[in-house]
């Protein structure tokens, strides 16, 4: 599985103590030039560059075609009343997600709502950090009380997940445990 990460996601994810689970879920994560340009802290840069050296993160410079599509996504998101805007880094990730079937890693609500709203992008898979945590837990890459895992991520990266999302996580984990127990 290949992911394409936007700036906010990779910056915050790199602060998480269990950040390595991302590379158990994904064979590779693409980092776009426009995303790398936004990174300044030595720790984050070292982390990304180290992952590039082991080919877990790949640097990717979008083509003119992808840039054009991303620009259209930004303009389209601005033109739809009540929809949140999609910014260029996320728009690039969405365009790549549509073109190549890569999972888009973003916390951006504009991107999240945009793919739900637009038919052309409905098949694009968007994972937020809570989705990555859930998938990592279900695949056995994270262990222990799921609530502790969620609380740890929220504390370390200053995130707040809604009760609805937390309950969805817990319910899915319980259901899987039950299914495994009955099989």
């Amino acid at each position: 599985m290949i992911g394409v990460a936007d700036t906010c996601f990779i910056i915050d994810w790199s602060k998480y103590s269990n950040r390595e689970v991302l590379f158990k879920l994904f064979n590779k994560v693409l980092i776009l030039k426009q995303v790398l340009d936004e990174v300044r802290r030595e720790e984050t840069l070292n982390y990304i560059v180290q992952k590039m050296m082991t080919e877990q993160i790949e640097f990717y410079e979008p083509s003119t075609l992808v840039l054009r599509e991303a620009d259209e996504i930004v303009r389209r998101s601005i033109s739809i009343p009540h929809l949140r805007r999609v910014d260029l880094p996320e728009a690039l990730c969405i365009a790549i997600g549509r073109g190549y079937g890569y999972v888009v890693l973003t916390e951006n609500l504009g991107a999240y709502y945009f793919v739900k709203h637009e038919d052309r992008y409905k098949h694009v898979i968007i994972w937020r950090s809570i989705d990555v945590l859930r998938e990592a837990y279900l695949k056995g890459f994270l262990h222990g009380d799921p609530l502790n895992i969620i609380e740890e991520y929220q504390r370390e990266t200053k995130h707040v997940f809604s009760k609805r999302e937390i309950n969805r996580f817990i319910e899915l984990v319980s259901r899987r445990k039950h299914e495994r127990g009955t099989n």
Binding site: D37, R41, K116, S162
Partner: protein, 74 residues
């Protein structure tokens, strides 16, 4: 996703950011940074906030942490 459902989610996310934000820290910042932080509280959009502050997204994210503004996932 229905529009009213989305609006409810966005309003809840905004209320959480407003509640957690360190307003004393925000109000002490120079005008451009203060405006960017207030924009971030109101919209959750880190990218545009970083452009208002004339910072990179990561520098803006550092300020976000200092101002105790959470990333809210509805």
């Amino acid at each position: 996703m229905k529009l009213n459902e989305m609006n409810k989610d966005l309003e809840w996310a905004r209320s959480v950011r407003r509640k957690y934000a360190n307003w004393e820290f925000i109000n002490k910042q120079p005008p451009r940074i203060k405006a960017a932080l207030i924009y971030l509280v109101e919209t959750g959009d880190l990218y545009v906030a970083s452009r208002i502050a004339n910072l990179t997204v990561e520098e803006m994210d550092e300020l976000r942490m200092k101002a105790n503004i959470p990333i809210v996932i509805p």
